[in-house]
Structure formats: C-alpha cells, structure tokens
Symmetry: C2
Subunit: 329 residues, 2 copies
Amino acid sequence: MPLLSPEAPPRHVLAIDIGGTKLAVGIVSSRGEIADSARTPTHVEFGPDVVLSRIVGLSRDLLRRHPVAVDMIGVGCGGPLDTGRGLVKNPPNLPGWNDYPLVQHLQDALGLRVALDNDANAAALAEFHFGAGRGTRHMVYFTISTGIGGGLILNGDLYRGKFGNAGEIGHVQVEYDGEPCNCGGRGCLEHYASGTGIARRARKLAERYPDSLLNTLAEHSGEITAHTVKAALEANDSATVDFWAETIEMLAAGVASVVHAFDPERVVIGGGISKFGDLLFEPLRSRVKARTMPPLMEGVDIVPASCADDVGVLGAAAVALGGQTMVVS
Amino acid sequence: MPLLSPEAPPRHVLAIDIGGTKLAVGIVSSRGEIADSARTPTHVEFGPDVVLSRIVGLSRDLLRRHPVAVDMIGVGCGGPLDTGRGLVKNPPNLPGWNDYPLVQHLQDALGLRVALDNDANAAALAEFHFGAGRGTRHMVYFTISTGIGGGLILNGDLYRGKFGNAGEIGHVQVEYDGEPCNCGGRGCLEHYASGTGIARRARKLAERYPDSLLNTLAEHSGEITAHTVKAALEANDSATVDFWAETIEMLAAGVASVVHAFDPERVVIGGGISKFGDLLFEPLRSRVKARTMPPLMEGVDIVPASCADDVGVLGAAAVALGGQTMVVS
C-alpha cells in the first residue's frame, strides 16, 4: 500500500529519531526522500527537558532552511511508551524520562500534530514503506543489535496488539528450560543471539578454548564483542565456527517459530548483527527452511534490511505518514 | 464485533463439520443457537464422493425439517486446504481427498454459497463469536489434541497470512536443539505437548520408572495415553508430577512466545488436553506469567474453550457468518 499514489505531489513531514546515544532530525517526503537532516549526540545525562530543547532547536533550523509545507511530526523513540497518551515511560536508554509528555511538548513548541511510536515499530514501517519490505502485505521485521526487537506488518498495516506491545519477538523462547532472560522469561532468543548475548556466550567460549583464534583476538584487543566473533569466523577459527552454527540454530528456531505463527511473505533483518552479511543470511535461510513446514516456507524471503543508517529518520517519517499511531490534533 | 446487531433478526446458515472420525451438520443462527443438528461416523474408507453424498443427505433432511431461510453454507474441515480454490488437499485424516473440489460439489448439490476454512480456524472463530473469546479483539486460540493447532483473531478478524497458513502455533519451537518433529522442524511444541507427544514421552517415563503408579496403570490397561497421565497425576504419582511440571514448562514457553509476539487479550485453549482442567490451567497461568514481560502479561487471560462438543458445528457456522473466507457465489 503506497503512502500516496505515485502521481500525487509528495507530502513532507518532520522526522525525529531519539536514541540513547544520538538524535537525528530530518525533513522527509512521502516518497522516502530525505530533503535534509541533522544528527547530534543525545547527551541523556542532561535529562529530557534539555534533550527536548535541543530537538526543538534542530527542528526549527531545518524548517527554516527548507520552507516546504511540513504538515506533521513523526517520532521514533526507544520504548516503553504510552502511545495512547503520548508519554515516554522509563526507557532503559533514556534515564529520567518518567512518563515524559513528549508529544504534548513537541506539539506546543513546533505547532504541528505529532505521531509517536517505538523505534522497532518505526524501523519496521521504514523497511515496509521505503526499504526491503516494499511490495509485501505481510512482513516481519527483526532488529538484532544490543537486544532483539521486532515489528509486524500484517495485512499491510503495523500490528500493535492489545496494549501496543506486539512484536516482542526477541522473547520467543527457544529453550524451554533455558537460562533466565532480563524480561523474566527463560531461554529467550534475545538472551542468546542478540549482540550482547553473542558476546557473553563468546566470552565463555574463549575461556574454554584458550588456544582458539577467538581467545587470541580477545587478548589482543582486551574484549570480546560481536565484532571479535565475526573476525574469528572470517578466519575460520574452528571453535568459533561451531559456536556460530549453534547461534544460527537458535536464530533459525526463533525465525521458524515466527514464520509458523504469521505466514509472512518476507522476514527483514536489521540491526548491527545483520552486518554479518552472508555469514548470517546464508546459513540462516537454509536452517529456517529446514525447520519450517513446506507450505509456510514457500515463497518466504529472509533478507537484510535496506534503510541502513537512515532507518531512524525514515522510520520516524513513516510513523507520521503511515503508522496508525496516536495523533494529538 | 457482533456478527449482527442484537436487534436484527438472526440469519441462519447450514454448518458442516468434517472430521476424520465423524461428520456433523447443523442449522445455526447468527446468535450461535443450534436449531437442529445431526452427527454420524465419517467412514473415510469409502472415499470422498460417498462422504459427500452422506453430507448432502443429512443436510437436505435438516433443511426440510427446519424451513428457516438458510442463506449460506459454512464448512470446517481438517487441512491442508486450498481455500482460494475451494479444494481439500490430502489431509492426513481424510485419505484420498486429493485436491477434492468440496466447495463446488456442495454448491452444486445444495444451491447455496459455500465458505470453507480449516478446523482450527473454524474453532477459533467459534470461540471468538460464541464462546470463551467473546468481547475481545485480539485472541489466540490453541487446540491441544492429537496435534497442536491454532487460530488467530487480530483486530477482530481471523488472521490468515500469506497463503492462509498463519496460526501454526503448534510449531513454535521450544527447544532449538530438540527432537525432530513431523513438520520438518525441531523441538516443536506439538512434538512434546500434544496428546500424542505426551503419551510418547509418558511411555518412556513408565519404562524408566517401573515402580511408578503410571507404569502400574499402563500395565493394567495395556496402553499409555494422556488419560493414563491424568489418572496418575490425580493420584499424585511423583514421577508423573515431575513429568507434568516439565510438560507445563514446555507449554508455558510456547504460550509465552505467542503472547510476546501478539500481545493478545485472551488465550483460549481447547482440544482434548484442555480437559485436564485445573491440572493444566492453574500451573500454566502461573508459569506463563513468570515467563512473560509484565506489560504483555497485564490483563491477558488464559482460559478454557467453552464451545465444548459443539465447537465443530459452531465453527463451521462462524466460517459462513464471520470468516473472511473463500465464497463461491
């Protein structure tokens, strides 16, 4: 479902992406063109009012430089949120934002309607409208970075569930008697296969195999991250190859579970771990296919996200343009 | 979403439930009242044409006895189906139904429009419109019997996915390195916690604990089924109590995964295993709650299905009345 018919002149919206480390603001057309944008560190340590005033300043600069008709503001922000009331509720990456009335403040300062959604839903909308999910009606988006989040496009619309929390597919539980996860669950995909989970498991592996290249790389750099795993994997370190096969199996169990539940046309995977590229996508496609009923697997693609570093701004724009979100008018 | 406003006079439909062991036909109002119904063994051994002619005979008898205006036929049938073309495609419980054009044959014989859906989707619609899911907009239905199937009501409608196969939530994979399942996957919930899975695992348990009450009951009756497990559990057999706790953990991982994905208001559980009653529902509620993020768990009920033995006929009726299904006009 295109946001506007191809013939119609494009609308423009102001897109605001609020992350724990950086802010991005852009003017984006309904065709997904970024007319202009600005980025700056968030400096969460100064609290929400200071961050808000910097967002407002950046926004006014952009609006002054680009006097196109901007009719709305879209915001993507780390959750949890109360989208019904336009509040930011204690996100782990935005300390001090306790029921912060972001929508009301932005509307008062900038005089435009504001639509708000969480960053994973915003990214799913970005991929659906402007990226790797274009042309589908049923798309599941995974973001695999520090954690694992998701967003669901069902029947051409973002699906939110009862309280707007649908799509927590990082907490699909791939080991019923597994390790405890921060969420309260056990054996969650995020606990094992997020960037954090991969690094934690890799640290144990390096201890167990002190002669492995993984451990050598770790001793050299003083730490193990997902990057260390990627480097050891590219050098064909045998302990790391086995470790990665197990990680792929965990991810494949999670993706196959989601495919059985949703029968999507496409699974789009973004986030830092998607930069493993073919090391991730080739074995994952093969293992998901092996683990999924044939009629469900037919014609489902597992593809990398394509909005890249613009996903935050494009996602915030898509929240305004296409999300069925809270709108203060 | 009620099928009709309470004031409107009810519509009536002919409901046909085709199972591997029995057929049921009924005249059902849009308020879920069964005006009349008939049941008979399916006798699959005679093949689809004979089964069809018996369905048509039963239907004509009912329509003659109850001359209300019946405007449509709804059919629930074991899948796989091709609902787009009205075909039954080789269901395991209906041998010989190879691309059988059920919709066309029924329409030709009875002269009414026909809507067809699989039995799990039909049961989900029955619970949503007439049973334990009434009043919700987001409901997940599990049926735990020989296998584990499901149906998804999202935003007040049955969700079908790309090819109509959404809701295969028996194949959520709760053990990434688990045993192979018939579906091709590994560690599927159905493999462990369906009636068949429970009986298979219980047979191993009885071998391991020859002094257990479970084994004594098994030797007495000559077999182990889910009923044997229930009897041993009610007598507090310690091996069976531990076995059941593990089964609950598997089910809780599956239900928690589905709750994280869909953020439903209610999870409705039907099928033979739901007759374990409080032995199932009390520990399952507690373990799903423990395994689920608080905002997702708030206000989600896990309840038994309530359509009981009428679920087949009510489901077939709901397919005609409320399903977004294939309609040959």
